[in-house]
Each structure stands twice: as structure tokens, then as C-alpha cells.
Assembly symmetry: C2
Homo-oligomer: 199 residues x 2
Amino acid sequence: MKREHSEDTRRQIVNAALIAITEAGFDGISTRQIAARANVSQGLLTYHFKSKDALWHAAADHMFELANIEFEKALSSAKTKNPRDIQRTLIRQMVYFNAEHPELMHFMIENGKEDTERSRWLVDTHCRPFYEKFTSLMSDIPDIDLPHAFYVLVGASGLIFCAANECRQLTGKDPTSKAAIKRHAEYCANLLIPDEHHS
Amino acid sequence: MKREHSEDTRRQIVNAALIAITEAGFDGISTRQIAARANVSQGLLTYHFKSKDALWHAAADHMFELANIEFEKALSSAKTKNPRDIQRTLIRQMVYFNAEHPELMHFMIENGKEDTERSRWLVDTHCRPFYEKFTSLMSDIPDIDLPHAFYVLVGASGLIFCAANECRQLTGKDPTSKAAIKRHAEYCANLLIPDEHHS
DNA sequence: GTCTATAATTAGATAGAC
DNA sequence: GTCTATCTAATTATAGAC
């Protein structure tokens, strides 16, 4: 039995950091609070990650790794039928992912709004590959208008979950219920890729 | 000539606070930095607003006051024709407002994500009136699906401006150019309220 | 009404014990 | 590999001069 459970500890810290940073923002959470959530001491964060900034990078990597896995899975499960089916699958998957992981959109909005080292790293390392995947899957749509269509889709599919708390307070309805997620997925898919016989 | 230019100073501080809080977040900006941007001393903030939290409330009030004025103006300028025209005007106005004032969406997302005193105040004081206006204007759409349609529209109309910096870094295109704003407005209006002869 | 000076607290990072 | 203790700097809020 190895006594050096450093990998587990590292993972625990990254998970706690990701949740905490999403909830309170990078400046809104202290390394002490993150350490407390991960049930370790504050000094240990500096041992595993040399700075709060490095911990932020690790949390972002972890989040996008998960996102990439789930999108690959969803797209490969859509047996290569006609492009429309693939596009609708992609849109539904964006809804489902945003519903389960609103932290991604929060992360992007909070850290992407200003031109900083972090925003450039985020775009270059993690966003561009996804954006290029998106454009290649959507390129056959005759009058597709990029980048408008991209941000319309991301905003339409994600905001209700990104603002889930606000939605509950404002409307009394919980957008993260199974039924609401499904409704939202169909709504977005129909809006952006209407059924054949409608066009 | 009155020597007590406290109203001007107050306004200056509120403006500086709104911009700064939008850029860096409530926790990301210090009262000293806000004071520096307003060209006053830090102590003066406590004189005019008893706390950083009170300054935040003042900044939010200021922002929503402006939003309400602009929406009233836009909607009253759309001479009461058929509902579709009013709806399209509302959507275009949302795009134009988000383009000029991305701070509103930032504010809502950052301060609405967790259930706090601030988020409840924001929803009850400023969001609900707008949401009710929205639903009454959209209620004649036969199969409107609230709250999905609301968040789809807000997200679709606003995210590209909320993430304007990211959009520039990612795509090289500036979504805040006059042409891009107009394109986005038409895109959103057509998507959500298609022309009569299409339906 | 505005400023300077400062008190009390908390932040991120480091040093060294175990 | 993990913890406790501590350093330095920055935070909000206050007190008092002008």
C-alpha cells in the first residue's frame, strides 16, 4: 500500500478549485477556502501548484478535458447519417453539457471578458479547437453567418443553465430538471436546424 | 457658483464603479482602484456610500435606469402596428442594447449565479419588471415556451457582446462594429420571429 | 465635501517541523 | 507529502484634519 496518495490529493484540490472558482470567481475565493473544501491545508496548495494562478490553469484543463471527452462520445454515437442529424446532435449535446456543467460558460465569460494572459491562453488552448470543430460541422449550411451563428447557439443553449439560479428566482421554474433540459434541447435544435419539411 | 459639487462627484464615482465592477468583478476590484478611476480619494467613497456593497447597489440602479429609458424609447418609437413588428423591434433593441452595454449581462451573470442577498435584490428589483414586460409582449405567440424562449433570446442576443473580447481573439472579427451589430440584430429577429410568409 | 493617516482583517506565498 | 506558523502586502472601513 503506497502511502504517497499525492495524485488523489491533487485531483481533490483541482475539483474543489473548479467548483469554488465557478461559484465565487477567481478573486472571490481564497486559497484557504479552496484548501478547506478539499480538506487539506493551505500550504499544500503551494506544494502541488506553485501559485493560485497555476491552480486556475489546472482547473481549466480538467474542465475542458471532460468536455472534450463528452463531445467526442456524443458525436461518435451519432452514426454518420446526413449532416442535419449530426448538427442536431451537436446542438442537443451542447444543451446537455451546459445543463450538467454550467461552470464552463461561467469560466469563459468571467475569464474571457478582458484581454489578459489567462483569456488568451483559454482561447488558444481550449476554445479554438472546439470552434474549428463546430465550423467544420456546420459549414454545409448554405447561409451560415459566422461568428454570429456560433455565439447565438452557445448563448441560446447555455445561458438558461449559466443563470439557473436567476431563472429559478425569476420564474419559479428549475431549468435543470430532466424535463426542462430536454425541452430546451429540442427548442434549440428546432430553432437552429429546423426539420427538413419546414424549410 | 455652488462649491458643493457633491452630485457630480457621486455620479463620477458610480460611473467608475460600474465600469470597474464589470471589468474585474466585485471582488476583483478594490475601492482604492475605483476611487483612483474617479479621481477622488478612497475615503470619499465611504462618505458618499457607506460601504462597497452600497456602492454596488448604486451602480446597478444606475445601469438599469439607463436600460429602462432606452427600452421605453425603442418600444414607443415602434408605432403600434401588428404584434410581430413590436416583437421584432424588442429583439433588435435587445441586441443593440447588449452591444452598447455588455455590462448588464455581465452584471447579471456574475451576481446572479449564486443565491445571495444581491442576487435576490437584483431579480426582484430590476429583472422581474422587464421579464413581465417581455412575457406580455410575447404572449400572443401560439406555442411560446417560457422561460425557455426568454433565455434563448437573451443568450442569443447578448452573448456575442458579453464575450466580445473572446470573439475577437477567437475569430478575428469585432462583433461591436456597426455592421456586425446590425447583422446580429437581423439574425436574431429572423430566427425568433420569422417573416410572415415563412411560417 | 474632500483629504490623509491608520486600524483591523485577510490575502497569497514561504519556511521549517514532522 | 502534509501541516503549522509566519511574512509581506493589500483589503475595507474609520477618525480626524482642513
